[in-house]
Amino acid sequence: MTMPAELFPWAPGREGYYGDFGGAFVPEMLHETLAELRAAFDNARRDPAFWKSYVEVMSTYAGRPTPVTYCDNLTRRFGGARIYVKREDLNHTGAHKANNVMGQGLLVQRMGKPRVIAETGAGQHGVATATMAARLGLACTIYMGEEDIARQRPNVFWMEQLGADVVAVTDGTRTLKDAINACLRDWAESMADTHYVLGTVCGPHPFPQMVTYFQSIIGHEARTQMLDATGELPRRVYACVGGGSNASGVFAGFLDDLSVELVGVEAGGKGIDSGKHTARLAGGKGRPGVAQGYKSVFLQNEEGLMQDTYSVAAGLDYIGIGPMLADLHQRGRVRFESATDSEVVEALRLTMRSEGLIPALESAHAFVAAFREAPSLSSADAVLVNQSGRGDKDIFTVADALGDEGWKDFIRRKAASYER
């Protein structure tokens, strides 16, 4: 595969800006650390051997390239565009998070740092980071909001089994954003021997660029695969957007193809009007701001205090959005839509029954928008949905949403067997 440094239409401008958004707004303490990281990353991406070693690791360790699957049953059901799915759920640890993590791991080796830290919301990025740390022999601390720990206990189990320390974050809303703050605080102390493996395309420069770079492997593969499968480019590409890393990755492969419409799907939660959502762009509720090291669009009040966000999908439950995506939205290159919790559960059920695919609740947001729009396209059109992760991790949430009595009985019996 071609090294994306040569086809990098989304390189940031001055000081890591994408249009009005981006930059690096961190305490002075971290200034040199970010400079060091920028230098290491620039050096690595100019070295053709680096991208090669990344692709090699991903193919021998993580299961890449992931396939594109044609979904005939869904296509016939909606009677419009042909529906294709990019299978990021088949990555080791079950989500696109592995791409970014292994890439940053290679960078950590080049920098010679013995310890990594990471934030995690749903736990996917934490588990991926813990596998990378185990594989590369790095000490690993994962910060996770207390509330997310309660929601995603199985992932905590796996992180600990993989040798990571999982630290509960008890301040703020006790979710993903607070875990990011905790990482920035740890890093302000530990930077000499520690790399912060930020999990999404947010945070200070160079993280948005670097994470997009590693995740662009999705888009570059998918573009070739769609051409092979259909002889042409897809009409639309759909991806869910929390911080925006899977969307940035898949969109990166198609940014120069202006015939391809790019659609980001945010969490509509219980509906935009309910105030319980994370639709920063699609809902029009986000405002420009600066937090967690970068300038972007955030869900915040008029005085700049961040608001509580909500989604059935913990991985989308976040206040901000990657600066590159905010810019692409402003420039009209990416259209943003939202999907509500109930639409998401319905799309998940349909996808499981029709195709035997189990998308994560996060990824199911992208399916909602594709299903909504497919009937109005023609069978001459192909659309691509990025299935960013697999849904097995969501068994508790999904079982609740589907009201599965058999599962509840099982949990009751299991709990009873542990009683002392």
């Binding site: 961190v26 200034h31 700049g304 205090l305």
Partner: protein, 264 residues
């Protein structure tokens, strides 16, 4: 209105330094534990002879702060502390007390307010300058120019991780005084001042002729005594708040007096 602001912060600091070897700067998170408690804190600072005061506007994502201040920020926000309450308190304080008052906070508050309105509000409230924990100098040129037009000093930070070139760059843009952090990390944890702090402050001296403040982990009267001869201003933040919580208003007054006693 005091003479401090019109004379400029640097001149004020230098005038004070002509009378005593070390100045003391203390900190309040506005709205925590309450606005009334904040007023009592300010009266105690005035009574003890504190030389400079930073008033923090609470923010939901205080990434440069340690656990005590993080909790204070969140609780103040929960209690509904907004811009209006903040500026009401600062304006009252500037009228009542003689020490210069600095805004302390995070850049998003300024960004949402707008640079011009931010400077106007500080100026109208009688404040002398501001410390923004997450605004690097390369993003601050416009704001800082606007501020100086209103005789407000942007207080920049120098840290032990900065290269000599970076310190020199900060030195070129600084005014008023420079806030030097005695160690890496965030606010709150104790600092061992014997470990490289003197050498770090030497590097800061090379980069600027402005007075130097030393903060981060200065927690006791003994710490303040150690700052004498190292820096020009001892900055005590988290320790004040912790004393208020552990020993109440009387303990707080007493604590400030013991700190101030080390500066004369």
């Amino acid at each position: 209105m005091t003479g401090a602001r019109t004379a400029g912060l640097e001149s004020h600091v230098r005038e004070r330094l002509a009378k005593k070897p070390l100045l003391l700067m203390a900190h309040v998170v506005v709205g925590y534990p309450s606005l009334d408690a904040n007023w009592a804190m300010l009266e105690a600072m005035d009574g003890a002879g504190v030389d400079l005061v930073e008033l923090q506007l609470p923010f939901t994502e205080p990434i440069a702060d340690g656990p005590s201040f993080v909790k204070a920020n969140h609780d103040a926000i929960q209690a509904g502390t907004a811009w209006r309450a903040y500026f009401d308190l600062t304006a009252r304080a500037a009228t009542r007390f003689s020490f210069p008052i600095l805004f302390m906070g995070y850049y998003n508050s300024v960004f949402r307010m707008g640079a011009e309105r931010f400077c106007a509000r500080l100026s109208e409230a009688g404040m002398s300058g501001f410390i923004l924990a997450d605004l690097p100098p390369e993003e601050a040129a416009e704001l800082n120019a606007m501020a100086r037009g209103r005789e407000l000093d942007p207080i920049l930070l120098m840290t032990p991780t900065n290269s000599p070139a970076r310190l020199a760059e900060i030195g070129r843009q600084a005014s008023g005084f420079v806030y030097c952090t005695a160690r890496k990390g965030v606010t709150g944890r104790k600092t061992d001042l014997s470990q490289g702090v003197a050498a770090f402050l030497e590097r800061c001296r090379t980069a600027t002729s402005l007075p130097l403040g030393l903060g981060f982990g200065i927690k006791t009267a003994a710490d303040v005594r150690e700052v004498r001869g190292l820096a020009n201003i001892a900055i005590v933040g988290t320790a004040c708040l912790e004393v208020w919580e552990e020993r109440g208003a009387d303990g707080y007054r007493q604590f400030l007096k013991t700190l101030a006693a080390e500066t004369v």
